[in-house]
């Protein structure tokens, strides 16, 4: 890694260190301190932390939403109801910012996305309603288990750059889910088809429930389903996943908005911090060693997932 890369990595490293300290303070039961600090400290801290998360999210290849809920939930004093509302908006804002260029560049495929987005949007409403109705401890435990599952998925799931040569199923043929992806990096055109689309529809329905329930983006699940289950090339999977999130998170966000679970003082600094950080992160792709950042993020998620689980079980926090 270059000297510039190490310097840039220091910023999120320091922020993550501060998070750990903040977590220890809260874990030690010093909750009174959180209410004694001036109100503006929290949105400012949220902005700084989200800025740091935005920087590391891009090189680590994860969405900001999946980092936001467990990390802010673990280290900030906000109730989980408001964190999930803000998390959905962070994921939605990221998806909306990326969506137009992904569609124009052919990295997201509208025809492929729409059937899955329909089911995931509908199920995310159910997830959001269930998530807001369940006791916070139950959601914390489920969140912890889900985050630990995501860490395992990110650490061990294989990836198929070119997708898998497949024989399209009848549904995929009827909906013409196919295309030719032009990879600018290699200059090659790559024809792709989809198989197991009925299984994909079932899996996306489940993903929608999780996205709505925990207020997270679900790129961590969308990409493996599109890429490994259905045989779509990795870059098209990642682009289409991001676009699907713009619809799934919209429907869940309405539920949180209508319930009154979106606090501007929490959601807006988070969205702005994450968006600005992601812009820096995208520019740092060439100087940061992605594998190092990815390990750092996986470690942080592992810590946050374990913390959410223990918090839900009433152990140490």
């Amino acid at each position: 890694m270059t000297r510039a890369g190490r310097r840039w990595l220091l910023a999120p490293g320091v922020a993550i260190g501060l998070l750990a300290v903040a977590g220890d303070v809260l874990a030690a039961g010093d909750a009174a301190m959180t209410t004694e600090l001036p109100w503006w400290v929290w949105p400012l801290a949220l902005f700084v932390v989200c800025f740091a998360l935005g920087i590391v999210a891009v090189p680590a290849g994860v969405g900001g939403g999946v980092l936001f809920v467990p990390i802010v939930g673990g280290f900030f004093p906000f109730h989980l109801d408001f964190i999930r509302g803000a998390g959905l908006l962070v994921a939605l804002a990221s998806a909306l910012a990326a969506g137009p260029s992904l569609l124009r560049g052919g990295l997201a495929d509208l025809r492929l996305a729409l059937p899955f987005a329909l089911l995931a949007s509908a199920s995310s409403i159910i997830g959001a309603l269930v998530g807001l109705a369940l006791p916070a401890t139950v959601v914390q435990i489920a969140l912890g288990i889900t985050i630990l599952g995501i860490v395992a998925l990110m650490a061990f799931a294989p990836r198929s750059e070119s997708g898998t040569p497949v024989t399209p199923d009848r549904l995929a043929m009827a909906l013409q889910m196919n295309g030719i992806f032009h990879d600018v990096a290699t200059g090659q055109d790559q024809r792709w088809h989809v198989h197991r689309s009925p299984l994909g529809l079932v899996l996306f329905t489940g993903i929608g429930v999780l996205a709505g329930m925990f207020g997270m983006g679900a790129g961590w699940a969308n990409v493996p389903v599109l890429n490994l289950v259905m045989g779509v090339p990795l870059k098209v999977s990642a682009g289409t996943s991001s676009f699907i999130l713009s619809l799934v998170d919209s429907s869940a966000a309405w539920v949180y908005l209508n319930k009154g679970a979106v606090l501007a003082m929490i959601a807006v600094p988070s969205v702005i911090g994450m968006m600005l950080g992601a812009r820096i992160g995208a520019r740092l792709l060439s100087v940061l060693k992605a594998s190092v950042v990815r390990k750092l993020v996986l470690g942080l998620l592992l810590f946050a997932g374990a913390r959410a689980l223990l918090k839900g079980l009433g152990i140490g926090g």
Partner: protein, 140 residues
Amino acid sequence: MTQHDSADRVSAEQRRYARLLDWGARTGFGILVAAFAAYVFGLLPAHVAFDRLPVLWTQPLDAYLAETGTPTGWAWLAQLAKGEFASLGGIAVLSGCSIVCLLAVIPIYARRGDKALAAICALTIAVLLLAASGILTAGH
């Protein structure tokens, strides 16, 4: 090569969707940032005093709503002059801009005789409108 293939040959509906999504997202972000700045810097009055927030945001949603009298459903629209609700206006634009994009591509699919995709777009709009309507969240 089919219509929705490579980067330089993306389909007409995909280009139209991208253009509208771009406008919707920019408009939503603009409103969000402007309204939040007005809220934080006191240009718009706050519904809940800032110094009460550190106590209130640690509480579950129901307790927060009961203590602050924060409206649910679409009732916040009547209070757009207050900072926190003006910021929600930006969030509503972000959450709703996909509906316009979907509406705009239906005629393209319909003209092409692509009834399945036109129906999927219409159903997705129905899902988003149902979520936005507040019908499902009434009586919390």
